[in-house]
């Protein structure tokens, strides 16, 4: 279900020349950490009719000059050591953590926090100049107790704050295999915590292990903090996930990204697909914590465009992207404007439709429909849910063909599997996979 960033990037780059000239200037600078690409799904719109359009900004991390030159990572690994982790789970968790510590460099910060009913700061935030003691400490992790998840994250974040600054990539890896049952444990509590952590530049990567954790809570925390959420069914997959997350953290080129859309007069921002946004008046803001090298994150804003005469060029929105360039350690910004033309020719409209934007839009709408289906299934409306999933599958497949986007096909396949796993007994574990997929489609992590 993961898309192929390089291919995507290629498509995006190919589209660039046909975009507005105003945007082109911004891309000339060579020391930029990211390239932004603002586009509208239909650069030519139907005249004299109110309609919905999608403005998309794609933010792509530039390739790093060398693998060695990277911003140091500040990572807290928060591990559930409750009784249910006994056996292979804790063993693999230990291995994965040790492997992560081994891969980090001497400038990186790591802290290890264990939680069950209570919390133990096993390794306070420390520079990894000497890995031996850290690895020894990890080897000694035992199990027992209940699950004070909120407190574990709180303490992990507190450790990270000791070294929090702009040039470090702040990431908290949270591993849990059970329901949070000590301390605040509603998805709302963790959502708020995630929101607050994102303000500090801390993203939480939540890893649910096995079939007993609360995926709503774990995905909410990841989503609100712009992290990532994983469902790991077999402990042996843990090392892969840790490795992947570490790789992402080590490839961050820009942080604290704020994308601000200001709609032109008459244009109304409706919502941002997938991501959280602050919308007030004509302004919409989206915050992203990290942009990775050679990978794209896109933001899609749905706007309402008022009826406009034919042949008029109407400004739709300006998009200002501000971010910390981790290579130059400076705050930079790029701005682009997007306009639309109006015609009565449907042919022209279809011809000029931006396929790359459409792929993003379809993917996000597909994600929304998947979420809707899950909600219905949770309410017990299994058949309606199944119908939505099959329809979604068809929608994704047809668009995949039209837009020549294999990633949509992969997403369609997931929806089919979902549709076939709604029955009692299978749904519980499938629901965890659905939560993971939804978070990944929304956040493109």
């Amino acid at each position: 279900m993961k898309r192929l960033p390089i291919t995507k990037l290629g498509v995006a780059m190919a589209v660039v020349p046909i975009l507005l000239a105003a945007a082109a200037e911004a891309r000339v600078r060579t020391d930029d950490a990211v390239r932004i690409d603002v586009a509208i799904d239909k650069p030519v719109l139907l005249a004299n009719e109110a309609q919905t359009a999608y403005v998309r900004v794609a933010i792509v991390g530039v390739p790093r000059p060398s693998a060695e030159e990277r911003a140091p990572v500040n990572m807290a690994i928060v591990i559930d050591k409750s009784g249910s982790m006994r056996g292979e789970k804790i063993e693999k968790a230990r291995d994965a953590a040790i492997q992560a510590v081994k891969r980090l460099g001497p400038d990186d910060i790591v802290s290890i926090v264990l939680y069950d009913t209570t919390v133990q700061v096993l390794v306070p935030a420390t520079k990894l100049t000497d890995k031996g003691p850290v690895i020894d400490a990890i080897r000694g992790i035992g199990v027992g107790g209940r699950t004070a998840l909120f407190a574990g994250v709180s303490k992990g974040a507190q450790e990270m704050r000791k070294f929090i600054d702009e040039e470090r990539i702040n990431r908290l890896l949270l591993l849990s295999d059970g329901l949070a049952n000590i301390g605040p444990s509603s998805p709302g509590d963790l959502e708020d915590l995630g929101t607050s952590l994102l303000k500090e530049g801390i993203s939480v990567v939540t890893i649910g292990l096995g079939l007993d954790y609360n995926e709503d809570l774990m995905s909410a925390l990841a989503y609100k903090s712009d992290g990532a959420h994983y469902f790991v069914e077999r402990p042996s997959e843990l090392a892969g996930v840790f490795d992947r997350e570490l790789g992402k953290a080590m490839s961050v080129v820009a942080g604290d990204i704020e994308a601000e859309f200001i709609c032109a007069p008459g244009v109304r921002p409706v919502r941002v697909l997938g991501r959280q946004a602050e919308i007030d008046g004509r302004r919409a803001r989206v915050f992203i914590n990290h942009i990775y090298s050679e990978r794209e994150k896109s933001i899609v804003l749905e706007v309402e465009i008022p009826p406009t005469d034919e042949s008029v060029t109407r400004p739709v929105a300006s998009v200002n992207v501000r971010y910390d360039n981790l290579a130059t350690r400076s705050r930079e910004s790029q701005e682009e404007r997007i306009e639309a033309n109006f015609t009565r020719s449907k042919e022209l409209i279809d011809k000029r439709t931006d396929a790359t934007v459409m792929v993003d839009v379809v993917q996000l709408i597909g994600a929304e429909r998947n979420i809707k289906a899950m909600e219905l299934r949770d309410k017990g409306q299994t058949e309606q849910a199944r119908k939505i999933l099959y329809d979604n599958n068809a929608y994704l497949l047809s668009n995949s063909a039209i837009l020549k986007a294999p990633e949509l096909e992969a997403q369609a396949v997931q929806n089919t599997i979902d549709a076939e796993s709604l029955d009692e007994g299978r749904y519980e574990s499938r629901r965890k996979a659905m939560q993971m997929n939804q978070t990944q489609w929304k956040l493109q992590e």
Partner: protein
């Protein structure tokens, strides 16, 4: 061993032990109560210390928010940026002087966070709680303002007064809809101006729904109020962060388990190695300081540590101490018993030795005395020297036989073997005879005896006893009252009783010695008695004998010198049977 002695010894051991044990048990119980009390106080003190971390956090956050809201412009964009960039706050608000919300303005374009904020807090704004006092909408009886520096406002919902828990907050279990329940409590800051009714800075705790929310605000010179809502989750996370984590190396007994609990008593955070059983009541509980008085710190400890650190040791030392004392007392008792019985044995041996010797001496002495008296009576009147010498022999042998008589009587007295041998006779004759016997030695010392006989009747009495008593009394006069130069002996007889008074003109007996002189081996120690030999049993024997004889020997009051009064039961001969 005599049974009485056994009882004495047992009591001697058991009583102090029982006393000590009782005291010890009381002490241990007292100690336990004291220790537990002290322990609790200690724990409470530590909880207070721990709670201070959270109090400080509130204070820090308050200052941070006040600093954050120091802004020149109050346009929505600026205020939104403040909320957006600061992890500790979830929303910034601005009120006009009448308490109307200027931001987030309910009628304007709001983002989702602002809408949620208004949903949470609309009652506060509707009630205009933070408005300047003149503009505050007063609800009958629902708002009460204390005009003090620490002005507290308690606003209960108008629809229903909520049941209050012990900590003074609404019970969460109440069936009132949670979004209808809210409770606001405001602590005005120290920056409080001259007008106590319009505090310039404040921290409001607002009980709504899930738990508490904290609002920090400041009144601007134009009467507007700018403030911010602290992010609830972040505040919880910060509270957790200032509290310690669990160090598995600590002792479960020493640390126990401490929990920070929220307004409904469910734990926000716990730490400590000890894992209390489900439903375990905390040993101590302490509410945090306002404004977080709804939260409390609870300390769970294993039951065995409640038994008191060192109480087992206390019991052990008590028992060990009692054992040691018991052994010591028993040892002492055994030692004293052995000493005592050895001394008794030795004394008995000495007494029996003295008795035997006395007895052995008695027969030859009787012969000596008898022959000396015969010689003395038959002695030539011309040979004055020989007569005198014989007189000395006679008087000395009489003295010796008195001494032996006393010793033998004393020995018998000790064995309760004193008996009377009543014979018929005249008291006056006996008295005169004894006095005659003493005459030579009285003369030697210049003592002038006088006798006034008043008991001429024939009565039954023990002549030997009377002689012994009188001998002792006269001997005392001879020894101690020689300087008085006179002794007056007087007898009286009435019915079956004879009284004999022996009064000297010597130095007398000091009042405090009047009873003691009758105790065995007691001798008055002063310049009169020093250098005079004596056994110290004469008066004892005499009194015993007098009592045996149905009378008594007492010291009669006298103007000068000592006057002994001897009473004897002397049945007249005519009445009584044979000898």
């Amino acid at each position: 061993m005599k049974p009485r002695l056994v009882v004495v010894y047992v009591l001697l051991i058991v009583l102090p032990l029982a006393l000590l044990a009782a005291l010890g048990v009381r002490l241990v119980h007292f100690e336990r109560r004291e220790t537990q009390q002290r322990f609790r106080e200690l724990l409470l003190g530590r909880l207070k210390e721990i709670g201070r971390g959270i109090d400080d956090l509130v204070e820090r956050r308050k200052r941070e928010v006040l600093r954050l809201t120091e802004t020149e412009s109050f346009d929505p964009e600026t205020l939104r940026t403040i909320a957006r960039r600061n992890p500790i706050v979830s929303q910034v608000f601005l009120l006009d002087s009448e308490g109307n919300l200027l931001h987030p303005k309910p009628s304007s374009d709001l983002n989702a966070g602002e809408r949620a904020f208004l949903e949470r807090t609309h009652e506060i704004w509707e009630r205009r709680v933070l408005a300047a006092p003149d503009n505050r909408q007063t609800q009958q009886g629902a708002v009460s303002t204390q005009q003090s520096a620490e002005a507290m406002q308690r606003i209960a919902p108008s629809r229903t007064f909520l049941p209050q828990t012990a900590r003074g907050i609404p019970a969460a279990e109440s069936n009132v809809q949670t979004d209808e329940t809210f409770y606001l409590q405001t602590t005005a800051g120290p920056e409080d101006g001259e007008s106590a009714s319009a505090p310039s800075v404040g921290l409001s705790v607002w009980y709504w729904g899930r738990d508490i929310d904290l609002l920090v605000w400041r009144r601007l010179p134009n009467g507007h109020v700018i403030g911010a809502e602290l992010d609830h989750s972040r505040f919880l996370a910060d509270a957790i962060s200032v509290l310690p984590d669990t160090d598995p190396r600590t002792d479960a007994l020493g640390e126990g388990r401490i929990a920070l609990v929220d307004s409904i008593g469910s734990p926000i955070y716990e730490w400590g190695v000890y894992d209390p059983p489900k439903g375990d009541e905390p040993l101590v509980e302490r509410a945090l300081e306002p404004p977080l008085a709804a939260w409390a710190l609870q300390w769970h400890l294993p039951a065995e540590s409640l038994a008191g650190p060192g109480e087992k040791g206390l019991w052990f030392s008590l028992v060990a101490g009692l054992l040691a004392v018991g052994v010591a007392i028993a040892g002492l008792a055994v030692y004293f018993y052995r000493e005592n019985s050895r001394e008794m044995r030795e004394a008995a041996q000495r007494v029996s030795f003295v008795n035997q010797v006395s007895h052995e001496l008695k027969t030859p002495l009787t012969n000596i005395r008898m022959y000396a008296e015969l010689l003395h009576e038959n002695a030539d009147d011309e040979d004055e020297t020989a007569r005198q010498r014989l007189g000395v022999i006679v008087s000395e042998s009489q003295r010796l036989s008195r001494l032996i008589g006393n010793i033998l009587s004393f020995g018998r007295r000790q064995r309760n073997h004193l008996t009377l041998h009543l014979t018929e006779g005249t008291i006056d004759d006996t008295v005169r005879a004894v006095l005659d016997g003493f005459r030579p030695s009285f003369e030697t010392r210049g003592i002038e005896p006088s006798f006034h006989g008043g008991a001429p009747g024939r009565v039954r009495f023990d002549r030997d006893v009377l002689e012994q008593i009188l001998g002792n009394l006269f001997s005392n006069v001879e020894k101690y009252a020689a300087e008085g130069k006179s002794v007056r002996v007087e007898t009286r007889q009435r019915d079956a009783e004879t009284t004999i008074t022996v009064a000297d003109s010597g130095p007398g007996i000091p009042p405090r010695e009047r009873e003691r002189v009758f105790r065995p081996f007691h001798r008055i120690s002063n310049k009169i008695t020093d250098g005079v030999s004596g056994t110290g049993i004469g008066l004892t024997i005499s009194r015993d004998l007098a009592r045996l004889h149905g009378g008594d020997l007492t010291l009669a009051p006298s103007d000068r010198g000592a006057a002994f009064e001897l009473r004897l039961a002397t049945p007249p001969y005519a009445d009584g049977g044979t000898s």
